[in-house]
């Protein structure tokens, strides 16, 4: 399937999740409320009530968003997707991103279900996955860009073709 169609399907998935979420009536303030004692501060209060009724469409929204980001990268590398390592790299980041999302959600759910809350690198476990995991998954694309730049983004052949194009245009201008 061409990346543009995967992108379209991913966008429609996000749209579907948005419509699903909009149809749910939480019954509590979804965006929190004013702190009872401190001005200019907000509290989230009933986290469990805010989260569980929309857990499934939320997962769909998360999967759709990651799919959009990964399919955009695939769109830019369309001409190299036949190379197995390129597709594997994109799918690897996609898989890792979904794993991170899964960890965020399962650690968050476990906390509501009474599991003891662990801390990692300064944050409660679900938050640590958010702060470090999401960032790290995105960072892998930067690594791909940097380390495979000469083989994927701007190859020696690309450079030669681009210089030939510039030479042609310059010649045409002079004529």
């Amino acid at each position: 399937m061409k990346p543009i169609y995967i992108l379209l399907v991913s966008l429609l998935t996000v749209l579907g999740a948005v419509i699903w979420i909009a149809a749910v009536d939480l019954g509590v303030a979804a965006t929190g409320s004013a702190h009872p004692d401190i001005v200019a501060m907000r509290v989230g209060a009933e986290g469990e009530t805010r989260y569980f009724p929309i857990k499934v469409p939320l997962m769909l929204l998360q999967i759709g968003s990651v799919s959009v980001l990964c399919s955009l990268i695939a769109l830019s590398l369309n001409r190299h997707l036949h190379k197995r390592w390129v597709s594997a790299s994109i799918l690897g980041v996609y898989g890792l991103s979904l794993f991170v999302w899964w960890q965020i959600n399962s650690a968050y759910s476990d906390y509501f279900l009474g599991e003891p809350l662990g801390y990692a690198l300064g944050f409660p476990l679900p938050t640590a996955w958010t702060v470090y995991g999401v960032w790290f998954a995105g960072l892998l694309f930067t690594c791909l860009f940097v380390f495979a730049f000469d083989r994927l983004v701007y190859t020696a052949d690309d450079k030669a073709q681009f210089e030939a194009l510039l030479a042609e245009l310059s010649k045409r201008d002079k004529q």
Binding site: A22, V39, S65, L72, V131, G138, Y154, F162
Partner: protein, 498 residues
């Protein structure tokens, strides 16, 4: 040392402003054409572009609004920053190479030039330019107002300037900005960005170290104190809730590549190969500066809910209060200079693209040619835009903020919705059509203005910009697939093959 805090802070800010003026004078000698003024003649090295990209993307929001938002809503706004690793990657994979190639092939000086070349459409150029110009007024007004408010808060602490008015502060700070932007154009802008970016990184790193040592137990103790007051504030979605933060995740992750003041910088590097060092430098700088935003906000929330500090009157006081309570005076001086640097680096980037839209793109779209003396016209346009934006800023402060709020609607969300489809997708997909480009830009303008005018809100705190971006991308692809394939100019077609 403590008694010297105020003079050190004021001295740092004054030194920084003097530096900007000197750079403006130096850059004036290097600016000989409109190409130099708008895209620095495509002659910049990777370090300059890398720091310019990152410093333009982090405005005063990163130093004041960001910590304030974390103070008010807990961990929620962290989502805006963690996704930037994806956002920068999308920008560099999909835009950086192609935009730089088209800039050289067509000798373009602005983003609307690129749009016109890709779609062979003056209407698409015109609409993109108008979107940018409207956004520039909104952004500029808020940046100038932010500079004036910070300067007033600093000067009013002195005996000599205790009663200084806000308009005087706006005049001082806008004058410095106008001077170096008018004289040196983008050359002054990127070289001040170089220093601005460095200050922001140094300030960010030092503040993070300070923040991590405020409490003996470090960030874990900070998290635990916040958790005891309200668990949701430090749990993954923060107080703003999952739907709000996921809409930010999408908007900031996908939308970063649609910000004209950022991607225009991608046309300015000397060599296309430099992109492989520009991306990690931009991302690293952004990451360090963002650590300031997150750590200061969380520490201030913890010390307030833990009864170690009096509650703040407004969330935006989080960073200034942190600096006056916990930071060494020299560090406070660096951070305040960094704050002005952050605001000015974004403002000068907007001034430049606004001037390009006014004197190059709109005349090109309407008359088919730019003014004869484009460099002089660009300098006048920069001056006039700054003056109008300063007027809007003062009007917002003394009169009604509605006009600035309205123009502010043409901010991040509108840029993302209008530009991501036509540039990010359009430069990587030959099947994209001119009709789809026009529909996407018009739609994004209409939907964002619609939300602003009607005051409509979306369920569970969904960001309107997210919905606009999502709908605009779907519309762009669908209309392209449904419309007749179009022929692309042969040079652009060949660039898109590379």
């Amino acid at each position: 040392m403590e008694e010297l805090r105020q003079p050190i802070i004021l001295g740092s800010v004054a030194l920084y402003m003097a530096f900007c003026i000197l750079v403006g004078l130096w850059a004036m000698r290097r600016t000989k054409s409109a190409g130099d003024f708008f895209v620095a003649g495509r002659s910049l090295g990777p370090i300059v572009v890398g720091l310019a990209v990152f410093s333009s993307s982090l405005s005063g929001f990163g130093f004041v609004g960001g910590p304030g938002l974390v103070y008010a809503t807990g961990i929620s706004s962290v989502w805006m920053s963690t996704v930037t690793a994806f956002g920068f990657a999308v920008g560099f994979f999909l835009v950086a190479k192609r935009i730089r190639m088209i800039a050289e092939v067509r000798d373009t000086v602005s983003l609307p030039d690129i749009v016109a070349a890709r779609y062979n459409s003056e209407l698409a150029r015109f609409l993109t330019a108008v979107t940018i110009l409207l956004g520039v007024f909104g952004y500029m007004a808020t940046q100038i107002l932010a500079m004036a408010v910070v300067l007033k808060s600093l000067l009013s602490g002195t005996v000599m300037f205790a009663d200084i008015s806000l308009w005087a502060c706006a005049l001082i700070s806008a004058s410095v900005l106008i001077f170096y932007s008018v004289t040196g154009g983008i050359v002054a802008s990127v070289y001040t960005d170089l220093v601005q970016g460095t200050i922001m990184i140094v300030a960010g790193a030092l503040v993070v170290i300070t923040a991590a040592t405020v409490l003996d137990g470090g960030m874990t103790e900070v998290s635990q104190i916040i958790f005891e007051d309200d668990p949701e504030a430090i749990m993954p979605f923060g107080t703003a809730g999952a739907v709000t933060v996921l809409s930010w995740f999408f908007l900031f992750g996908v939308g970063l590549a649609g910000q004209p003041h950022i991607i225009t910088k991608m046309m300015m590097n000397r060599r296309i190969e430099d992109n492989k060092s520009i991306l990690p430098m931009s991302l690293l700088g952004y990451a360090v500066a963002v650590l300031l935003w997150v750590s200061v906000g969380l520490v201030m929330r913890a010390v307030v809910v833990g009864d170690m500090l009096t509650p703040l009157e407004a969330a935006d006081q989080a960073a200034p209060m942190f600096l006056s309570t916990y930071a060494h005076p020299i560090l406070a001086g660096i951070v305040f200079a960094g704050l002005f640097a952050a605001i000015m680096s974004t403002a000068d980037a907007f001034l430049n693209i606004g001037a390009a839209a006014a004197v190059h793109d709109i005349p090109m779209a309407l008359k088919g040619r730019a003014p004869k003396n484009e460099l002089a016209a660009a300098r006048w346009a920069t001056f006039i835009i700054s003056v109008i934006a300063t007027g809007f800023a003062l009007y917002a402060y003394y009169g009604s903020g509605q006009l600035v709020a309205f123009l502010g609607a043409f901010g991040w969300g509108t840029f993302a919705a209008a530009i991501v489809p036509i540039v990010v997708i359009g430069l990587n997909w030959k099947r994209a059509t001119k009709t789809a480009a026009i529909v996407a830009v018009v739609f994004s303008l209409v939907i964002n203005v619609g939300f602003q005018v009607t005051g409509a809100s979306l369920p569970m705190g969904m960001h309107p910009g997210f919905v606009a971006l999502l709908a605009s991308m779907i519309l762009f692809i669908t209309v392209s697939l449904l419309s007749k394939p179009e022929k692309i100019a042969s040079d652009i077609d060949r660039v898109m093959d590379l």
